[in-house]
């Protein structure tokens, strides 16, 4: 594993993370240092352990062993402080269909302690950011797939997270919406948010991320800056991330459900 980014602050550090289900090891001592301002693309076939890792970081699952450090402090000791700074865009559309877009964001913002004028300002800001301000009074039931995805993102960033984990935020949407979401992610990173981007769309990671992590069977196989990784493989005739990914993880089908 390359030792890079030494000049940057290590914002979040996953150290030796382990998790098993029914005796099967899902995460085998995962270690990932996340530096402030990073835009990490996390790739892995089904069953690699990406979702389990995200669930553990979000506090949905318990880890068996390992440490999560945020600004050098153990997250386990003060999970609420960490959660205030963490945003997770779930893979599924996690919205109340019968509430308006505004009400959805309002409620999820209130879970982060936002209230009053500050909350209302943030809601307007974030709705404008995802391009839904004009349609804020409508319910997601009336939205297209792309609009729902944008609202899903808005609900996850309304509290200004320092670190944002996006789990396949562009699944099942048209190219225009995808392009819009990609631009949103670039804007978030430009504003200082550290992003871990999980996707099966390798071209998105190629386009967005400065660092690539490839994991499989609960282990990190590659953790390298994107350009350095591509440069290393170009000599072997592979100039795209997809071919590199397949050469590392193999071409056999993965039918596991994570």
């Amino acid at each position: 594993m390359k030792n890079y980014g030494q000049t940057k602050e290590c914002l979040f550090h996953i150290q030796n993370l382990q998790k098993s289900y029914d005796g099967k090891e899902i995460l085998k001592g995962l270690t990932i240092p996340v530096y402030a301002g990073d835009m990490i693309g996390l790739l892995g076939p089904n069953g690699a352990g990406k979702s389990t890792m995200t669930k553990i970081i979000g506090g949905i699952e318990q880890k068996d062993a390992g440490t999560l450090l945020f600004h050098g402090k153990d997250v386990h000791k003060n999970p609420r402080e960490f959660k205030r700074k963490l945003g997770i865009v779930p893979q599924e559309i996690a919205l109340y269909e019968e509430l308006s877009a505004y009400e959805n964001i309002q409620f999820f913002a209130s879970l982060y302690g936002l209230n009053g004028t500050k909350r209302e300002k943030k809601i307007e800001e974030v709705l404008r950011f995802v391009g839904l301000w004009e349609r804020r009074k409508e319910t997601p039931a009336k939205y297209s797939g792309g609009m729902k995805r944008r609202l899903n993102i808005a609900c996850s960033v309304v509290h200004d997270p320092e670190i944002l984990i996006m789990d396949e935020p562009t699944v099942g949407i048209d190219p225009q919406s995808r392009n819009h979401i990609m631009n949103l992610i670039r804007s978030l990173q430009a504003a200082g948010t550290t992003v871990i981007y999980i996707s099966h769309y390798i071209e998105e990671i190629e386009e967005l991320c400065n660092r690539v992590i490839i994991m499989d069977h609960g282990q990190i196989l590659v953790d390298e800056e994107k350009e350095a990784l591509k440069k290393r493989y170009v000599e072997q005739g592979m100039d795209h991330l997809e071919s590199i990914f397949l050469s590392i993880t193999g071409t056999q089908l993965r039918d596991e459900v994570e």
Partner: protein, 255 residues
């Protein structure tokens, strides 16, 4: 405290919006009381009319049936797929459970109270000085039902099976308590079986409080129900399972 308040208010709005409570705790008991009251009019005396009888037995029965609404309230975030957002947010898990119980209790209490007062006005139920005890009893009963329902919704496996099965004991308790047809018997075995139904005791004490102006028994019942409600709330908080809260046995979910 602010966190609990936020969650409770939000859940209350959802209970009002979904309309189940108003349907099952207000409209249904009023309609069924009017119908059964009309059909059995001649079988009752002037002391207690058929309308009064059915109103007073139907309200606690419908309050008990709200257990399914409360169980759904515990599960609704799994259906909406928003449950993970609660667990990711910086909030205490116990507040998720307590807010659901509180919101259900308050909404069920309001609906049951409205039904009781409408029945009093429509069918001239003698609202003696003990009316407030009946209202209090309905509130406490709502609390117990909400806590059991949320316990099922957030902490128990096989939610879908439980939800369907729970109708059976409630229905049997209702039959034993004379909710559908009043019956008296000198058979000791049947009397013992009747006494096993909590609804039997609730109905007895409600009638005693309103028609005989006896309040002691209903006071004791309220205290017992408060204790059961607190116990069930503690159990629901303790038994909260993230996996069940997020997925449970929802159709299509594979563990």
């Amino acid at each position: 405290m602010r966190e609990l308040w936020t969650l409770t208010i939000f859940q209350m709005k959802r209970r009002v919006r979904d309309g189940f409570s108003i349907g099952y705790n207000v409209i249904f008991p009023l309609v069924i009381t009017a119908l059964l009251g009309l059909l059995t009019k001649k079988q009752f005396t002037q002391t207690i009319t058929s309308y009064q009888y059915y109103a007073l037995v139907m309200i606690p029965f419908c309050a008990t049936m709200s257990i399914i609404t409360a169980a759904y309230a515990g599960k609704e975030d799994a259906y909406a797929k928003t449950a993970s957002r609660y667990l990711i947010a910086p909030i205490h898990e116990k507040n998720i459970v307590v807010a659901k119980i509180l919101s259900c209790s308050l909404i069920f209490s309001c609906c049951n109270g409205v039904t009781f007062f409408v029945c009093c006005a429509l069918w001239h139920i003698p609202s003696s000085e003990n009316w407030w005890l009946i209202f209090l009893l309905l509130c406490v009963l709502s609390f117990v039902i909400a806590s059991i329902g949320v316990l099922i919704g957030t902490g128990m496996k096989n939610f879908l099976v439980l939800k369907n099965v729970i109708n059976i004991p409630i229905g049997l308790c209702a039959v034993a308590a004379g909710v559908f047809y009043p019956f008296g018997t000198s058979d000791r075995l049947i009397q013992s079986l009747q006494n096993l139904s909590p609804l039997t005791w609730i109905n007895r004490f409600v009638f005693a409080a309103l028609y005989d102006c006896r309040s002691k028994e209903i006071g004791i019942l309220i205290v017992i129900l408060v204790m059961v409600g607190v116990g069930m709330t503690a159990l629901a908080v303790k038994n909260f399972q993230k996996e069940e809260f997020i997925h449970g046995d929802l159709p299509g979910y594979q563990k």
